[in-house]
Protein backbone atom coordinates (compact mmCIF):
# COMPACT_ATOMS: atom_id res chain seq x y z
CA UNK A 1 0.00 0.00 0.00
CA UNK A 2 1.42 3.41 -0.88
CA UNK A 3 2.78 5.35 2.05
CA UNK A 4 0.55 8.31 1.27
CA UNK A 5 -2.42 6.15 2.20
CA UNK A 6 -1.56 6.30 5.88
CA UNK A 7 -1.55 10.11 5.89
CA UNK A 8 -5.22 9.92 6.76
CA UNK A 9 -6.60 6.76 8.30
CA UNK A 10 -9.80 4.96 7.41
CA UNK A 11 -12.16 4.27 10.27
CA UNK A 12 -11.04 0.63 10.38
CA UNK A 13 -7.36 1.56 10.47
CA UNK A 14 -8.03 4.11 13.20
CA UNK A 15 -9.72 1.58 15.46
CA UNK A 16 -7.06 -1.09 14.90
CA UNK A 17 -4.37 1.36 15.96
CA UNK A 18 -6.50 2.55 18.86
CA UNK A 19 -6.83 -1.01 20.16
CA UNK A 20 -3.08 -1.51 19.90
CA UNK A 21 -2.49 1.25 22.39
CA UNK A 22 -1.97 -1.70 24.72
CA UNK A 23 -0.59 -5.08 23.66
CA UNK A 24 -3.22 -7.09 21.83
CA UNK A 25 -3.60 -10.06 19.47
CA UNK A 26 -5.66 -10.16 16.27
CA UNK A 27 -8.70 -11.91 17.72
CA UNK A 28 -8.80 -9.49 20.63
CA UNK A 29 -8.66 -6.52 18.27
CA UNK A 30 -11.84 -7.64 16.49
CA UNK A 31 -13.60 -8.19 19.83
CA UNK A 32 -12.39 -4.90 21.26
CA UNK A 33 -13.57 -2.88 18.25
CA UNK A 34 -16.97 -4.51 18.38
CA UNK A 35 -17.54 -3.76 22.04
CA UNK A 36 -15.94 -0.30 21.83
CA UNK A 37 -18.16 0.81 18.95
CA UNK A 38 -21.18 -1.20 19.96
CA UNK A 39 -20.91 -3.17 16.68
CA UNK A 40 -21.07 0.04 14.69
CA UNK A 41 -17.68 -0.66 13.13
CA UNK A 42 -17.22 -4.17 11.81
CA UNK A 43 -13.73 -5.31 10.94
CA UNK A 44 -13.40 -8.40 8.79
CA UNK A 45 -10.64 -10.86 9.71
CA UNK A 46 -9.14 -10.80 6.21
CA UNK A 47 -8.93 -7.03 6.25
CA UNK A 48 -7.44 -7.11 9.75
CA UNK A 49 -4.76 -9.57 8.65
CA UNK A 50 -3.77 -7.33 5.75
CA UNK A 51 -3.80 -4.19 7.90
CA UNK A 52 -1.58 -5.76 10.55
CA UNK A 53 0.88 -6.89 7.88
CA UNK A 54 1.01 -3.44 6.33
CA UNK A 55 1.31 -1.67 9.70
CA UNK A 56 4.23 -3.92 10.66
CA UNK A 57 5.91 -3.27 7.28
CA UNK A 58 5.55 0.47 7.82
CA UNK A 59 6.79 0.13 11.43
CA UNK A 60 3.57 1.65 12.71
CA UNK A 61 3.12 -1.33 15.03
CA UNK A 62 5.51 -4.00 16.19
CA UNK A 63 5.08 -7.68 16.96
CA UNK A 64 5.67 -8.26 20.65
CA UNK A 65 5.28 -11.96 21.19
CA UNK A 66 4.12 -15.17 19.56
CA UNK A 67 2.31 -17.71 21.69
CA UNK A 68 1.77 -20.72 19.51
CA UNK A 69 0.18 -19.13 16.48
CA UNK A 70 -1.18 -16.15 18.43
CA UNK A 71 0.67 -13.01 17.60
CA UNK A 72 0.47 -9.88 19.67
CA UNK A 73 1.27 -6.36 18.59
CA UNK A 74 1.68 -2.91 20.09
CA UNK A 75 1.92 0.64 18.73
CA UNK A 76 5.35 2.07 18.02
CA UNK A 77 6.25 5.70 18.58
CA UNK A 78 5.54 6.32 14.90
CA UNK A 79 2.15 4.66 15.25
CA UNK A 80 1.34 6.70 18.33
CA UNK A 81 2.19 9.87 16.39
CA UNK A 82 0.02 8.75 13.47
CA UNK A 83 -2.89 8.04 15.79
CA UNK A 84 -2.51 11.36 17.50
CA UNK A 85 -2.39 13.23 14.21
CA UNK A 86 -5.56 11.47 13.16
CA UNK A 87 -7.22 12.28 16.47
CA UNK A 88 -6.27 15.96 16.08
CA UNK A 89 -7.60 15.96 12.55
CA UNK A 90 -10.93 14.49 13.57
CA UNK A 91 -11.07 16.77 16.57
CA UNK A 92 -10.46 19.78 14.34
CA UNK A 93 -13.23 18.63 12.03
CA UNK A 94 -15.59 18.34 15.02
CA UNK A 95 -14.54 21.77 16.29
CA UNK A 96 -15.17 23.34 12.90
CA UNK A 97 -18.56 21.68 12.74
CA UNK A 98 -19.48 22.95 16.17
CA UNK A 99 -18.18 26.44 15.42
CA UNK A 100 -20.37 26.73 12.36
CA UNK A 101 -23.56 25.16 13.66
CA UNK A 102 -23.40 26.72 17.14
CA UNK A 103 -22.91 30.18 15.59
CA UNK A 104 -25.99 29.61 13.46
CA UNK A 105 -28.04 28.81 16.55
Amino acid sequence: MPRAKFQTLTEQMFYVLLCLESECCGTDIMEKIRSLTDSRVILGPGTLYNLLEQFVDEKIIVETKTEGRRRSYILTEKGRQLLENEYNRIRKQADDYEKLFREEQ
Partner: protein, 459 residues
Protein backbone atom coordinates in the same frame (compact mmCIF):
# COMPACT_ATOMS: atom_id res chain seq x y z
CA UNK B 1 -20.30 -45.30 5.26
CA UNK B 2 -18.45 -44.79 2.03
CA UNK B 3 -17.81 -41.20 1.21
CA UNK B 4 -19.48 -40.11 -1.97
CA UNK B 5 -17.86 -37.70 -4.37
CA UNK B 6 -18.83 -36.01 -7.56
CA UNK B 7 -16.72 -34.20 -10.10
CA UNK B 8 -17.79 -31.34 -12.27
CA UNK B 9 -16.17 -29.30 -15.02
CA UNK B 10 -16.14 -25.71 -13.77
CA UNK B 11 -15.12 -22.93 -16.10
CA UNK B 12 -14.87 -20.16 -13.51
CA UNK B 13 -12.07 -17.67 -13.69
CA UNK B 14 -10.52 -18.01 -10.25
CA UNK B 15 -10.68 -14.29 -9.48
CA UNK B 16 -14.46 -14.41 -9.96
CA UNK B 17 -15.12 -14.69 -6.22
CA UNK B 18 -18.71 -13.43 -6.45
CA UNK B 19 -19.90 -16.23 -8.70
CA UNK B 20 -17.76 -18.92 -7.08
CA UNK B 21 -19.32 -18.06 -3.72
CA UNK B 22 -22.83 -18.15 -5.19
CA UNK B 23 -22.10 -21.43 -6.93
CA UNK B 24 -20.68 -23.10 -3.81
CA UNK B 25 -23.69 -21.95 -1.80
CA UNK B 26 -25.98 -23.53 -4.37
CA UNK B 27 -24.00 -26.76 -4.36
CA UNK B 28 -24.05 -26.94 -0.54
CA UNK B 29 -27.80 -26.44 -0.51
CA UNK B 30 -28.00 -29.46 -2.85
CA UNK B 31 -25.78 -31.46 -0.50
CA UNK B 32 -22.39 -31.09 -2.19
CA UNK B 33 -19.46 -29.50 -0.40
CA UNK B 34 -16.41 -28.40 -2.38
CA UNK B 35 -13.54 -30.78 -1.73
CA UNK B 36 -10.75 -30.08 -4.21
CA UNK B 37 -10.27 -27.49 -6.92
CA UNK B 38 -8.45 -28.42 -10.12
CA UNK B 39 -7.88 -26.33 -13.22
CA UNK B 40 -11.25 -27.27 -14.63
CA UNK B 41 -12.32 -30.34 -12.69
CA UNK B 42 -13.66 -29.65 -9.19
CA UNK B 43 -14.54 -32.38 -6.72
CA UNK B 44 -17.43 -32.19 -4.29
CA UNK B 45 -18.12 -34.32 -1.23
CA UNK B 46 -21.61 -35.47 -0.28
CA UNK B 47 -22.95 -33.72 2.83
CA UNK B 48 -26.35 -33.10 4.38
CA UNK B 49 -27.93 -30.32 2.31
CA UNK B 50 -27.60 -27.11 4.27
CA UNK B 51 -27.65 -23.39 3.91
CA UNK B 52 -24.09 -22.13 4.08
CA UNK B 53 -22.48 -18.82 3.34
CA UNK B 54 -19.19 -18.96 1.44
CA UNK B 55 -16.39 -16.48 1.21
CA UNK B 56 -13.56 -16.60 -1.29
CA UNK B 57 -10.55 -14.60 -0.14
CA UNK B 58 -7.08 -14.21 -1.55
CA UNK B 59 -4.12 -14.61 0.76
CA UNK B 60 -1.66 -11.83 -0.07
CA UNK B 61 1.58 -13.78 0.30
CA UNK B 62 3.21 -16.58 -1.64
CA UNK B 63 1.77 -20.06 -1.13
CA UNK B 64 4.06 -22.96 -1.86
CA UNK B 65 1.95 -25.94 -2.84
CA UNK B 66 2.80 -29.24 -1.27
CA UNK B 67 4.39 -27.61 1.76
CA UNK B 68 2.76 -27.87 5.16
CA UNK B 69 0.71 -24.76 5.83
CA UNK B 70 3.13 -22.07 6.93
CA UNK B 71 2.67 -20.48 10.37
CA UNK B 72 1.87 -17.22 8.74
CA UNK B 73 -0.86 -18.66 6.55
CA UNK B 74 -2.19 -20.61 9.52
CA UNK B 75 -2.32 -17.33 11.38
CA UNK B 76 -4.44 -15.92 8.55
CA UNK B 77 -6.72 -18.97 8.65
CA UNK B 78 -7.00 -18.78 12.46
CA UNK B 79 -7.89 -15.13 12.30
CA UNK B 80 -10.68 -15.87 9.82
CA UNK B 81 -11.89 -18.74 12.01
CA UNK B 82 -12.08 -16.43 15.01
CA UNK B 83 -14.30 -14.21 12.89
CA UNK B 84 -16.75 -17.11 12.61
CA UNK B 85 -15.53 -18.59 9.30
CA UNK B 86 -14.46 -22.21 8.83
CA UNK B 87 -11.59 -22.91 6.49
CA UNK B 88 -12.69 -25.26 3.69
CA UNK B 89 -9.88 -25.51 1.13
CA UNK B 90 -7.49 -23.42 -0.85
CA UNK B 91 -6.17 -23.45 -4.38
CA UNK B 92 -2.91 -21.55 -4.24
CA UNK B 93 -3.60 -18.14 -2.82
CA UNK B 94 -7.35 -18.53 -3.17
CA UNK B 95 -8.88 -19.59 0.15
CA UNK B 96 -12.44 -20.72 0.64
CA UNK B 97 -14.26 -20.30 3.94
CA UNK B 98 -17.80 -21.16 4.91
CA UNK B 99 -20.11 -20.39 7.80
CA UNK B 100 -23.64 -21.27 8.82
CA UNK B 101 -23.91 -18.04 10.79
CA UNK B 102 -25.89 -15.69 8.60
CA UNK B 103 -24.73 -12.70 10.61
CA UNK B 104 -21.03 -13.47 10.47
CA UNK B 105 -19.20 -10.31 9.42
CA UNK B 106 -17.64 -10.52 5.97
CA UNK B 107 -13.96 -11.45 5.85
CA UNK B 108 -13.10 -8.48 3.68
CA UNK B 109 -14.50 -5.21 4.97
CA UNK B 110 -12.14 -2.89 3.14
CA UNK B 111 -12.62 -2.59 -0.62
CA UNK B 112 -9.16 -1.25 -1.60
CA UNK B 113 -7.42 -4.00 0.38
CA UNK B 114 -9.63 -6.64 -1.20
CA UNK B 115 -8.91 -5.37 -4.71
CA UNK B 116 -5.21 -5.26 -3.97
CA UNK B 117 -5.24 -8.90 -2.84
CA UNK B 118 -7.30 -10.02 -5.84
CA UNK B 119 -4.97 -8.23 -8.21
CA UNK B 120 -1.86 -9.74 -6.61
CA UNK B 121 -3.47 -13.15 -7.07
CA UNK B 122 -4.73 -12.47 -10.59
CA UNK B 123 -1.41 -11.08 -11.74
CA UNK B 124 0.46 -14.27 -11.01
CA UNK B 125 -2.19 -16.90 -11.58
CA UNK B 126 -4.40 -15.48 -14.30
CA UNK B 127 -2.67 -12.80 -16.31
CA UNK B 128 0.66 -14.63 -16.51
CA UNK B 129 -1.14 -17.91 -17.15
CA UNK B 130 -2.97 -16.36 -20.07
CA UNK B 131 0.16 -14.62 -21.24
CA UNK B 132 1.79 -18.01 -21.55
CA UNK B 133 -1.22 -19.31 -23.48
CA UNK B 134 -1.24 -16.23 -25.71
CA UNK B 135 2.51 -16.49 -26.36
CA UNK B 136 2.08 -20.19 -27.18
CA UNK B 137 -0.75 -19.36 -29.59
CA UNK B 138 1.22 -16.56 -31.21
CA UNK B 139 4.21 -18.87 -31.58
CA UNK B 140 2.03 -21.58 -33.11
CA UNK B 141 0.25 -19.13 -35.41
CA UNK B 142 3.68 -17.81 -36.39
CA UNK B 143 4.80 -21.30 -37.28
CA UNK B 144 1.68 -21.83 -39.41
CA UNK B 145 2.16 -18.49 -41.12
CA UNK B 146 5.78 -19.44 -41.90
CA UNK B 147 4.63 -22.78 -43.36
CA UNK B 148 1.93 -20.97 -45.29
CA UNK B 149 4.53 -18.65 -46.74
CA UNK B 150 6.82 -21.49 -47.66
CA UNK B 151 4.32 -24.04 -48.98
CA UNK B 152 0.88 -22.47 -49.10
CA UNK B 153 -0.82 -25.19 -51.10
CA UNK B 154 0.44 -28.12 -49.03
CA UNK B 155 -0.19 -26.30 -45.75
CA UNK B 156 -3.69 -25.28 -46.66
CA UNK B 157 -4.55 -28.59 -48.23
CA UNK B 158 -3.63 -30.49 -45.11
CA UNK B 159 -4.53 -27.71 -42.72
CA UNK B 160 -6.19 -29.20 -39.74
CA UNK B 161 -8.82 -27.77 -37.46
CA UNK B 162 -5.88 -26.80 -35.26
CA UNK B 163 -5.16 -24.11 -37.75
CA UNK B 164 -8.49 -22.49 -37.07
CA UNK B 165 -8.60 -23.31 -33.35
CA UNK B 166 -5.39 -21.51 -32.58
CA UNK B 167 -6.69 -18.05 -33.46
CA UNK B 168 -9.98 -18.87 -31.70
CA UNK B 169 -8.13 -19.81 -28.52
CA UNK B 170 -6.08 -16.69 -28.89
CA UNK B 171 -9.18 -14.50 -29.23
CA UNK B 172 -10.82 -16.02 -26.14
CA UNK B 173 -7.66 -15.71 -24.07
CA UNK B 174 -7.14 -12.09 -25.03
CA UNK B 175 -10.82 -11.43 -24.37
CA UNK B 176 -10.55 -12.91 -20.87
CA UNK B 177 -7.44 -10.94 -19.99
CA UNK B 178 -9.07 -7.75 -21.24
CA UNK B 179 -12.27 -8.50 -19.29
CA UNK B 180 -10.26 -8.97 -16.13
CA UNK B 181 -8.26 -5.79 -16.60
CA UNK B 182 -11.48 -3.95 -17.36
CA UNK B 183 -13.07 -5.24 -14.17
CA UNK B 184 -9.95 -4.38 -12.18
CA UNK B 185 -9.95 -0.80 -13.45
CA UNK B 186 -13.61 -0.35 -12.57
CA UNK B 187 -13.32 -2.06 -9.19
CA UNK B 188 -10.25 -0.01 -8.26
CA UNK B 189 -12.06 3.27 -8.93
CA UNK B 190 -15.09 2.09 -6.98
CA UNK B 191 -12.87 0.91 -4.11
CA UNK B 192 -11.43 4.39 -3.74
CA UNK B 193 -14.94 5.45 -2.78
CA UNK B 194 -15.20 2.48 -0.44
CA UNK B 195 -17.47 0.46 -2.72
CA UNK B 196 -17.14 -3.25 -3.42
CA UNK B 197 -17.56 -4.42 -7.01
CA UNK B 198 -18.94 -7.85 -7.85
CA UNK B 199 -17.00 -9.84 -10.39
CA UNK B 200 -18.69 -10.74 -13.66
CA UNK B 201 -18.97 -14.28 -14.80
CA UNK B 202 -16.42 -14.80 -17.56
CA UNK B 203 -16.46 -18.37 -18.78
CA UNK B 204 -13.08 -19.71 -19.77
CA UNK B 205 -14.31 -20.87 -23.19
CA UNK B 206 -10.78 -21.35 -24.41
CA UNK B 207 -10.67 -24.46 -22.25
CA UNK B 208 -13.46 -25.89 -24.41
CA UNK B 209 -11.32 -25.15 -27.43
CA UNK B 210 -8.27 -26.83 -26.01
CA UNK B 211 -10.25 -30.04 -25.77
CA UNK B 212 -11.07 -30.35 -29.49
CA UNK B 213 -7.50 -29.22 -30.09
CA UNK B 214 -6.24 -32.36 -28.40
CA UNK B 215 -8.82 -34.49 -30.20
CA UNK B 216 -7.75 -32.77 -33.41
CA UNK B 217 -4.12 -33.70 -32.83
CA UNK B 218 -5.13 -37.30 -32.20
CA UNK B 219 -7.36 -37.52 -35.24
CA UNK B 220 -4.77 -35.81 -37.37
CA UNK B 221 -2.31 -38.59 -36.71
CA UNK B 222 -4.74 -41.20 -37.95
CA UNK B 223 -6.49 -39.30 -40.65
CA UNK B 224 -3.89 -37.03 -42.14
CA UNK B 225 -4.07 -38.99 -45.36
CA UNK B 226 -7.82 -38.43 -45.56
CA UNK B 227 -9.63 -35.47 -46.81
CA UNK B 228 -9.95 -32.37 -44.73
CA UNK B 229 -13.73 -32.55 -44.72
CA UNK B 230 -13.59 -35.96 -43.10
CA UNK B 231 -11.78 -34.47 -40.14
CA UNK B 232 -13.96 -31.38 -40.13
CA UNK B 233 -17.10 -33.47 -40.26
CA UNK B 234 -15.99 -35.76 -37.48
CA UNK B 235 -14.82 -32.89 -35.31
CA UNK B 236 -17.93 -30.89 -36.03
CA UNK B 237 -20.17 -33.74 -35.08
CA UNK B 238 -18.21 -34.62 -31.94
CA UNK B 239 -18.28 -30.99 -30.82
CA UNK B 240 -22.01 -30.80 -31.55
CA UNK B 241 -22.46 -33.93 -29.45
CA UNK B 242 -20.52 -32.48 -26.55
CA UNK B 243 -22.34 -29.17 -26.74
CA UNK B 244 -25.74 -30.91 -26.92
CA UNK B 245 -24.73 -33.06 -23.97
CA UNK B 246 -23.76 -30.02 -21.91
CA UNK B 247 -27.07 -28.31 -22.78
CA UNK B 248 -28.97 -31.49 -22.00
CA UNK B 249 -27.25 -31.81 -18.66
CA UNK B 250 -27.89 -28.19 -17.78
CA UNK B 251 -31.60 -28.55 -18.59
CA UNK B 252 -31.77 -31.87 -16.81
CA UNK B 253 -30.16 -30.41 -13.70
CA UNK B 254 -32.67 -27.56 -13.72
CA UNK B 255 -35.77 -29.73 -14.22
CA UNK B 256 -35.09 -32.58 -11.83
CA UNK B 257 -33.39 -30.79 -9.04
CA UNK B 258 -34.10 -33.25 -6.32
CA UNK B 259 -36.15 -36.03 -7.88
CA UNK B 260 -33.37 -37.86 -9.61
CA UNK B 261 -29.88 -37.95 -8.32
CA UNK B 262 -27.30 -39.57 -10.48
CA UNK B 263 -24.11 -41.08 -9.25
CA UNK B 264 -20.85 -40.09 -10.85
CA UNK B 265 -20.61 -43.51 -12.46
CA UNK B 266 -23.98 -43.16 -14.17
CA UNK B 267 -23.05 -39.71 -15.35
CA UNK B 268 -19.74 -40.89 -16.77
CA UNK B 269 -21.39 -43.85 -18.43
CA UNK B 270 -23.96 -41.62 -20.10
CA UNK B 271 -21.30 -39.14 -21.15
CA UNK B 272 -19.24 -41.93 -22.66
CA UNK B 273 -22.31 -43.33 -24.45
CA UNK B 274 -23.27 -39.99 -25.98
CA UNK B 275 -19.68 -39.28 -27.03
CA UNK B 276 -19.39 -42.73 -28.59
CA UNK B 277 -22.61 -42.37 -30.53
CA UNK B 278 -21.51 -39.06 -31.95
CA UNK B 279 -18.02 -40.33 -32.62
CA UNK B 280 -19.50 -43.22 -34.49
CA UNK B 281 -21.89 -40.95 -36.39
CA UNK B 282 -19.06 -38.59 -37.20
CA UNK B 283 -16.77 -41.31 -38.41
CA UNK B 284 -19.59 -42.89 -40.39
CA UNK B 285 -20.58 -39.72 -42.17
CA UNK B 286 -16.95 -38.74 -42.58
CA UNK B 287 -15.99 -42.07 -44.08
CA UNK B 288 -19.05 -42.06 -46.32
CA UNK B 289 -18.19 -38.66 -47.76
CA UNK B 290 -14.49 -39.48 -48.00
CA UNK B 291 -14.92 -42.43 -50.33
CA UNK B 292 -14.93 -41.32 -53.95
CA UNK B 293 -18.16 -42.60 -55.44
CA UNK B 294 -19.26 -44.42 -57.43
CA UNK B 295 -16.71 -47.08 -58.09
CA UNK B 296 -16.49 -50.80 -58.78
CA UNK B 297 -13.80 -53.37 -59.12
CA UNK B 298 -12.76 -55.27 -62.24
CA UNK B 299 -10.56 -58.27 -62.63
CA UNK B 300 -7.47 -57.59 -64.62
CA UNK B 301 -5.09 -60.16 -66.05
CA UNK B 302 -1.53 -59.28 -65.30
CA UNK B 303 1.32 -59.92 -67.67
CA UNK B 304 2.42 -62.79 -65.42
CA UNK B 305 -0.80 -64.65 -66.05
CA UNK B 306 -2.55 -64.14 -62.71
CA UNK B 307 -5.52 -61.86 -62.12
CA UNK B 308 -6.05 -59.09 -59.63
CA UNK B 309 -8.76 -56.53 -59.06
CA UNK B 310 -8.49 -52.89 -59.97
CA UNK B 311 -10.81 -50.10 -58.92
CA UNK B 312 -12.74 -48.25 -61.54
CA UNK B 313 -14.04 -44.84 -60.56
CA UNK B 314 -16.92 -43.36 -62.40
CA UNK B 315 -16.79 -39.68 -61.53
CA UNK B 316 -18.65 -37.80 -64.19
CA UNK B 317 -18.08 -34.50 -65.93
CA UNK B 318 -14.32 -34.59 -66.19
CA UNK B 319 -13.46 -31.40 -68.10
CA UNK B 320 -10.85 -33.26 -70.09
CA UNK B 321 -11.10 -36.88 -71.18
CA UNK B 322 -8.64 -39.34 -72.66
CA UNK B 323 -11.10 -39.83 -75.49
CA UNK B 324 -10.59 -36.16 -76.40
CA UNK B 325 -7.17 -37.29 -77.61
CA UNK B 326 -7.08 -41.01 -78.18
CA UNK B 327 -9.32 -43.72 -79.44
CA UNK B 328 -10.28 -45.72 -76.34
CA UNK B 329 -12.63 -48.05 -78.19
CA UNK B 330 -14.44 -50.28 -75.74
CA UNK B 331 -11.79 -49.97 -73.05
CA UNK B 332 -13.04 -48.98 -69.62
CA UNK B 333 -11.82 -45.58 -68.49
CA UNK B 334 -11.57 -45.00 -64.75
CA UNK B 335 -12.12 -41.43 -63.74
CA UNK B 336 -11.37 -40.40 -60.17
CA UNK B 337 -11.94 -36.94 -58.84
CA UNK B 338 -10.81 -35.56 -55.50
CA UNK B 339 -11.28 -32.09 -54.19
CA UNK B 340 -9.77 -30.27 -51.27
CA UNK B 341 -11.24 -26.98 -50.40
CA UNK B 342 -10.33 -24.40 -47.84
CA UNK B 343 -11.13 -20.78 -47.43
CA UNK B 344 -8.16 -19.57 -49.44
CA UNK B 345 -7.39 -22.40 -51.83
CA UNK B 346 -9.39 -24.95 -53.75
CA UNK B 347 -7.74 -27.84 -55.53
CA UNK B 348 -9.43 -30.42 -57.72
CA UNK B 349 -7.52 -33.39 -58.98
CA UNK B 350 -8.59 -35.78 -61.76
CA UNK B 351 -7.03 -39.12 -62.50
CA UNK B 352 -8.09 -40.83 -65.71
CA UNK B 353 -6.67 -44.13 -66.91
CA UNK B 354 -7.72 -47.03 -69.07
CA UNK B 355 -8.43 -50.27 -67.27
CA UNK B 356 -7.64 -53.21 -69.51
CA UNK B 357 -5.80 -56.45 -69.44
CA UNK B 358 -2.31 -55.42 -68.62
CA UNK B 359 -1.07 -57.67 -71.34
CA UNK B 360 -2.63 -55.54 -74.03
CA UNK B 361 -2.80 -52.35 -72.05
CA UNK B 362 -1.16 -49.43 -73.72
CA UNK B 363 -1.26 -47.74 -70.30
CA UNK B 364 -3.07 -44.56 -71.28
CA UNK B 365 -3.46 -42.06 -68.50
CA UNK B 366 -4.19 -38.39 -68.03
CA UNK B 367 -3.76 -36.77 -64.63
CA UNK B 368 -4.50 -33.14 -64.04
CA UNK B 369 -5.12 -30.73 -61.20
CA UNK B 370 -6.78 -27.35 -61.07
CA UNK B 371 -5.81 -25.10 -58.15
CA UNK B 372 -7.67 -21.85 -57.61
CA UNK B 373 -6.05 -19.34 -55.32
CA UNK B 374 -8.76 -17.15 -53.88
CA UNK B 375 -6.42 -15.05 -51.84
CA UNK B 376 -4.41 -13.22 -54.52
CA UNK B 377 -1.38 -12.31 -52.34
CA UNK B 378 -0.71 -16.04 -52.06
CA UNK B 379 -0.62 -16.55 -55.83
CA UNK B 380 3.10 -15.95 -56.34
CA UNK B 381 3.94 -18.21 -53.38
CA UNK B 382 1.71 -20.96 -54.79
CA UNK B 383 3.29 -20.67 -58.23
CA UNK B 384 6.68 -20.94 -56.61
CA UNK B 385 5.64 -24.04 -54.77
CA UNK B 386 3.88 -25.83 -57.63
CA UNK B 387 5.93 -24.75 -60.62
CA UNK B 388 9.30 -23.19 -59.84
CA UNK B 389 10.39 -25.01 -56.70
CA UNK B 390 8.97 -28.43 -57.54
CA UNK B 391 10.32 -31.10 -55.22
CA UNK B 392 11.49 -33.45 -57.99
CA UNK B 393 11.42 -31.65 -61.31
CA UNK B 394 12.82 -28.49 -62.69
CA UNK B 395 10.54 -26.30 -64.77
CA UNK B 396 11.17 -24.44 -67.95
CA UNK B 397 8.91 -21.96 -69.64
CA UNK B 398 7.62 -23.07 -73.00
CA UNK B 399 6.53 -20.92 -75.85
CA UNK B 400 3.06 -21.70 -77.08
CA UNK B 401 1.21 -20.23 -79.99
CA UNK B 402 -1.08 -18.29 -77.66
CA UNK B 403 -0.79 -15.37 -75.29
CA UNK B 404 -3.74 -16.41 -73.11
CA UNK B 405 -1.68 -18.23 -70.49
CA UNK B 406 1.84 -19.12 -69.44
CA UNK B 407 3.07 -22.66 -70.06
CA UNK B 408 5.83 -24.63 -68.36
CA UNK B 409 7.33 -28.05 -68.89
CA UNK B 410 8.91 -30.09 -66.14
CA UNK B 411 12.36 -31.56 -66.66
CA UNK B 412 14.01 -34.37 -64.76
CA UNK B 413 17.33 -32.64 -65.22
CA UNK B 414 18.33 -29.85 -67.54
CA UNK B 415 18.06 -31.96 -70.65
CA UNK B 416 15.45 -34.65 -70.05
CA UNK B 417 11.89 -33.39 -70.55
CA UNK B 418 8.93 -35.14 -68.94
CA UNK B 419 5.36 -35.25 -70.16
CA UNK B 420 4.26 -33.11 -67.25
CA UNK B 421 3.19 -29.52 -67.80
CA UNK B 422 1.93 -26.56 -65.86
CA UNK B 423 -0.18 -23.61 -66.92
CA UNK B 424 -1.04 -20.35 -65.27
CA UNK B 425 -3.95 -18.08 -65.93
CA UNK B 426 -5.19 -15.44 -63.53
CA UNK B 427 -5.62 -17.05 -60.13
CA UNK B 428 -5.61 -20.56 -61.53
CA UNK B 429 -2.67 -22.96 -61.65
CA UNK B 430 -3.01 -26.15 -63.69
CA UNK B 431 -0.80 -29.20 -63.90
CA UNK B 432 -1.25 -31.95 -66.50
CA UNK B 433 0.52 -35.31 -66.80
CA UNK B 434 0.20 -37.18 -70.08
CA UNK B 435 1.16 -40.78 -70.73
CA UNK B 436 2.32 -39.75 -74.16
CA UNK B 437 4.20 -36.82 -75.57
CA UNK B 438 1.53 -34.28 -76.52
CA UNK B 439 1.74 -32.01 -79.51
CA UNK B 440 1.46 -28.23 -79.09
CA UNK B 441 -2.17 -28.34 -80.23
CA UNK B 442 -2.96 -31.01 -77.71
CA UNK B 443 -1.34 -28.93 -74.97
CA UNK B 444 -3.22 -25.77 -75.86
CA UNK B 445 -6.44 -27.76 -76.08
CA UNK B 446 -5.89 -29.16 -72.52
CA UNK B 447 -4.91 -25.78 -71.09
CA UNK B 448 -7.87 -23.97 -72.62
CA UNK B 449 -10.34 -26.61 -71.49
CA UNK B 450 -9.04 -26.58 -67.94
CA UNK B 451 -8.74 -22.83 -67.71
CA UNK B 452 -12.38 -22.50 -68.65
CA UNK B 453 -13.58 -25.43 -66.56
CA UNK B 454 -15.70 -24.91 -63.49
CA UNK B 455 -13.94 -25.74 -60.27
CA UNK B 456 -17.04 -26.30 -58.23
CA UNK B 457 -17.14 -28.27 -55.08
CA UNK B 458 -19.93 -30.49 -54.01
CA UNK B 459 -20.37 -32.29 -50.71
Amino acid sequence: MMEEYKRRIELFSLYDHTNIEKHLEKMASKGWMIDTIGTTLWRYKKIEPKKLKFSVVYYPKEVKEGVIISDDRQNFIDLCSSGGWNYVINSGKMHIFSTDDENAPPIDTDAPIQIECIHKFAKTEIVYGYLFLIIACIFFSGFIIYELWKEPVETLKDATPIFWLTPVTLIFSVFNVISYLNWYKKAKTAAENGEFTNTKKIIRFEVLFWFPLYVGFGLLGILSFMRIRYILFTLGIISTGIILFIIYRAINNKICKSERKETTKQRLRRFAAVTLVFLWLGSGIGAYTAIPKPYYKVKVNSEFGNTYSREVYLDKNAPLDISDYKETGNKTVSCEKSTRELLLIKETEWKLYTVEDEKNDDGLFLYYSVTDIRFTPLLERCKNEIIFNHIVYESKKILLDTDKFEGYRYYIDDKTPTNSFAFCNGNRIITVDFSWEPSEEELIFAAEKLINSQNTYSF
